[in-house]
């Protein structure tokens, strides 16, 4: 090789090395994030777009079906069963969200008094949260059985009339709220407790020194500090409530008299039992938009 050729080769090699050095951080970065990104985008973004197309078709879960424009969306406006399911879901949501968030706050405030047995209490309130809907359902059917259940036995023991609970159309949804609060209060309690422990002690003590009563300090010092936690929890619990399915499936299956048929339970029946996949996706998309609107409204209100 001539010296000139060697010089050229060296130059090319140097150029390549420089290019590699320039690209290396980008390649390393993508190396770290690509696997997770592929899984998440592949199983979220791609299906979400596909779902939008499916909702414009009259598919039967085997084929996409043919394009029907906005007919599914028009149909769901006049669907009386869906309207009833929406009513049941809203009833559940307006009871479950304030119930679980308020009880969670009370528990956290009590636990934050730096009392003894805090670990025991925290475990008691959080353990129901890890019990699955299937196990909770079996347990609920057992405990609330109108004829043999222990709750009616207890009511009878104190002289009260027995109740129908999950088998009474007027009580079934309320019973599901009670069960859900039992299973769902641990999360708000733990989140609030973490937030309370982050409030600087000086802040509370200063308010006390200034002569604030306990109630005053709570209202004007503690609660404002907990606001971000409250916003997060209200949004989180609302999303959870609007998507209620598992517990319904494992307890009442939407009965009695369809009184516990929720939107997602109805959607499941439409899509996977009646194979109306286009109609099912249209319901899912409307639910998605409602969820976004509610979250947006809560955020907007809290920002003012």
């Amino acid at each position: 090789m001539t010296p000139a050729a060697t010089a050229v080769t060296a130059k090319v090699a140097a150029h390549r090395a420089a290019r590699r050095a320039r690209w290396l951080p980008h390649l390393t970065g993508w190396g770290f994030v690509l696997p997770a990104t592929l899984v998440i985008v592949g199983l979220s973004v791609f299906p979400a777009v596909w779902a939008l197309l499916l909702s414009l078709q009259d598919g039967d879960l085997l084929t996409g079906g043919s394009y029907v424009g906005l007919r599914n969306y028009a149909d769901l406006m006049g669907d009386a069963e869906l309207a009833a399911a929406t009513g049941h879901t809203l009833l559940y949501t307006v009871l479950f969200v304030p119930g679980s968030v308020a009880l969670g706050l009370l528990l956290a405030l009590a636990l934050n008094l730096r009392i003894r047995l805090i670990g025991f209490y925290r475990t008691c309130f959080f353990v129901p949260y890890v019990v699955s809907a299937a196990a909770t359902g079996i347990l609920a059917n057992f405990v609330f059985d109108p004829d043999f259940g222990i709750v009616n036995a207890a009511l009878k023991a104190v002289g009260l009339p027995p109740m129908g609970f999950l088998q009474d159309p007027d009580q079934a949804m309320l019973t599901l709220v009670v069960i859900s609060v039992w299973g769902g209060v641990g999360m708000p309690a733990v989140v609030y407790l973490a937030a309370l422990q982050d409030i600087p002690r000086e802040l509370v003590e200063a308010a006390r020194v200034d002569g604030g009563s306990g109630r005053h300090v709570l209202r004007h010092v503690v609660l404002p500090q907990l606001r971000p936690a409250t916003v997060f929890l209200v949004i989180w619990q609302t999303i959870t409530a609007l998507q209620l399915f598992d517990l319904v499936y494992t307890t009442t299956k939407g009965q009695p008299l369809d009184s516990t048929t929720t939107v997602v339970f109805y959607l499941y029946r439409q899509a996977f039992q009646l194979f109306h996949s286009g109609y099912g996706t249209a319901i899912a998309y409307v639910l998605f938009l409602v969820t976004l609107a509610v979250s947006g409204a809560v955020l907007w209100r809290s920002a003012r």
Partner: protein, 273 residues
């Protein structure tokens, strides 16, 4: 009454409430050790006067229960491994590395947190059907390999670590991967504990997706088995309760072991604001 401090009052409220919360679970465990004749008596018995393992024997021998349990263990282990590896890698990448497209990729991931499962399940069912995954255990595993929430959780944790540690290791001649494996990951134990518990909880308890994606009993997960089994034998309470106990126990154990990391993680992840 003057010497009664709020602290003591708190016990008066908390203690009965706490007992009320665990009572159904304690009774579930006790019932699992009772013979069906005692369980079906009225009023219900609270204590196993004739303790027996019949319920456990039945679920372990007469049903596909051991198989469902094994399936669920496979799903949960795959989910936890997938989450620990993929989410911590991605979380670190988004927290520390600068590369082209980082902002867009991260924004895309975070946007998916808002999309509810219900929107995704029908197209995912069709996608998995085309891939031949429907009615296999794989269908239950794949959606659990990584999640945007997991990436977010790990990123928030890595952002809270002081950079100096990593810089020192880099000066000592560690590459990016070396720094990540030898310096960063060992520090991430509290965040990883939380990630593991949340992933275990979600994958172990998932019901709606296995219900849709799996139809053969041999591929059932535990939750799907429990939900189906409950309808089929609704008076054999000892077996049902024994099934519940086995299904719930691993999660209770995991939670009790990891609970002190929980409150800490809630603080740094910004979940509380």
């Amino acid at each position: 009454m003057k010497h009664l401090k709020p602290r003591h009052l708190a016990h008066l409220v908390l203690m009965p409430l706490a007992l009320l919360f665990v009572a159904p679970l304690v009774w579930m465990v006790l019932t699992a050790f009772m013979p069906d004749a005692d369980i079906n008596s009225y009023p219900p018995k609270l204590w196993p006067e004739h303790p027996t393992l019949a319920g456990f024997e039945r679920i372990l021998t007469e049903d596909d229960y051991p198989r469902w349990l094994a399936n669920t263990v496979v799903v949960a282990v795959a989910a936890v491994l997938g989450h620990v590896v993929l989410c911590s890698l991605a979380g670190y990448g988004f927290a520390r590395l600068r590369f082209r497209g980082r902002g867009v990729a991260f924004a895309a991931l975070m946007a998916t947190i808002m999309v509810p499962t219900q929107v995704l399940m029908i197209p995912t069912f069709l996608l998995f059907k085309n891939l031949g995954l429907i009615d296999t255990l794989g269908a239950a595993i794949v959606p659990w390999l990584a999640s945007a929430f997991g990436v977010f959780l790990m990123r928030q944790f890595f952002l809270s670590l002081p950079r100096e540690l990593e810089e020192a290791a880099t000066i000592d001649g560690c590459g990016r991967v070396g720094v990540f494996v030898r310096v960063v990951l060992p520090l991430a134990r509290p965040a990883l504990a939380t990630l593991v518990v949340f992933t275990l909880l979600g994958s172990w308890n998932d019901l709606i997706w296995p219900l849709i994606a799996i139809s053969s009993e041999e591929h059932y997960t535990l939750q799907l088995g429990l939900a189906t089994f409950a309808g089929a034998r609704h008076t054999e309470w000892s077996a049902l309760m024994a099934g519940n106990v086995v299904a719930v126990l691993p999660l209770v154990a995991a939670f009790v072991l990891a609970q002190r990391h929980f409150v800490a993680t809630m603080s740094f992840s910004g979940l509380k604001g």
